[in-house]
Symmetry: C2
Subunit: 228 residues, 2 copies
């Protein structure tokens, strides 16, 4: 299925208009989701494989051929962010949450009615920094996304202005939990706090300031994309 | 080629002993490096492909079969960090620099005699956050690694204690430059500063505090792994 999109102009110039219906999006996700999942497993296998050199060379050739087949018809640039008429966005290329992005674990974020957002996920070999531990920058990557989601959930989407991370304990690879909540709004700024934890203790604390970009200010003034 | 390693005990318990010679490492890199590169291109193609659903389903099956072949003989866990008798480490699974890790761009870091470390690299579709821009957390991920490398280059390897990021301008996908240098040492702490830039301006500023772990303190006291 081709995701035909049109580049939008004006305050939403960073976005593209969503042209698929909810049913079409679900049907498409059921096809491309497993493709990205298969690449996630491949990334892990490439790090850990101990098969012999001839087998590795053969696999390399096959992967190159597969890539050529998939690239025969493709978007001209990165995936971008699609927005539908209700203002809901879809970022399947996103480095943390993207359904199509094999770099993304992916992190699926749950929104609570009180504004808190959280996610539970597993990080394996591809997210390693120190031996057996999650890369400190990977913790930062995921916390940046979760904090940004909390800001958006509070009706104040924004670009990261500052991000402060405090590493309290080493973060082991495996099952992890992240959560975030808006602490307060201050003019164009939204201050958000969050944590990354194992089931036993907090490993990383984060505080971020997210700044409302012009398109979001205009969107809020217009009370939603549909009316913009 | 199998990378047989033995888990080390004592102060270096987080590491494994390197058992390959420099020549063997180079020969092995020439085989597994292209494999990881092929997966990097595949990750990009999966994000951007517009081929039809049947073709995507066929590709998914082939990737699953390739993964099974590579996983037929593999390390029991994540790649870890190997250290040779000169104290040089090799982290081919690392999320930023890992030769075997398709999530890593990879960033190849250059060490200058004055202690400054830098890297030039390109970030494409898999590193997207806001449309057309590098994910703020990806900037944090790379800066954490570069700052940590600067601390290590100064003879003071450490775990990230805190990391502060200031996002001055949106970071476009494409060619980027990062650099870092130790600002000062303070007891067990090393304070490092760095930036992420386009050819025109600084996009992100970072300051990190890296804390010498016990194994590094014992290593420094013993003047190198070989004597430890």
């Amino acid at each position: 299925m081709t995701e035909r999109t049109e580049r939008m102009t004006g305050p939403l110039s960073g976005f593209q208009q969503e042209t698929l219906s909810a049913d079409e999006i679900a049907a498409h996700a059921a096809v491309v989701g497993p493709l990205a999942d298969s690449v996630r497993a491949l990334i892990d296998a490439v790090i850990r494989t101990e098969v012999d050199d001839d087998e590795i060379r053969a696999a390399t050739k096959e992967i190159e051929a597969l890539t050529a087949r998939l690239a025969r018809r493709q978007m001209p640039g990165p995936y971008g962010v699609l927005v539908n008429e209700h203002g809901r966005s879809r970022a399947w290329g996103n480095a943390v949450m993207g359904l199509r992005n094999a770099i993304a674990p992916p992190v699926e974020i749950v929104h609570e009615p009180d504004g808190r957002v959280w996610a539970e996920f597993s990080l394996g070999a591809p997210y390693e920094g120190p031996a057996g531990l999650v890369h400190g920058g990977v913790s930062a990557l995921i916390l940046d996304q979760i904090l940004g989601e909390a800001a958006s959930a509070g009706g104040r989407p924004g670009m990261t202005g500052t991000l402060q991370l405090r590493y309290r304990k080493p973060t082991p690879l495996g099952r992890l939990y992240a959560e975030a909540k808006v602490e307060r709004a201050d003019g164009l700024k939204t201050i958000v706090r969050g944590t990354l934890s194992t089931s036993e203790h907090v490993c990383v604390e984060a505080e971020g300031i997210f700044v409302l970009p012009r398109w979001a200010r205009e969107l809020i003034e217009a009370r939603g994309v549909g009316d913009a």
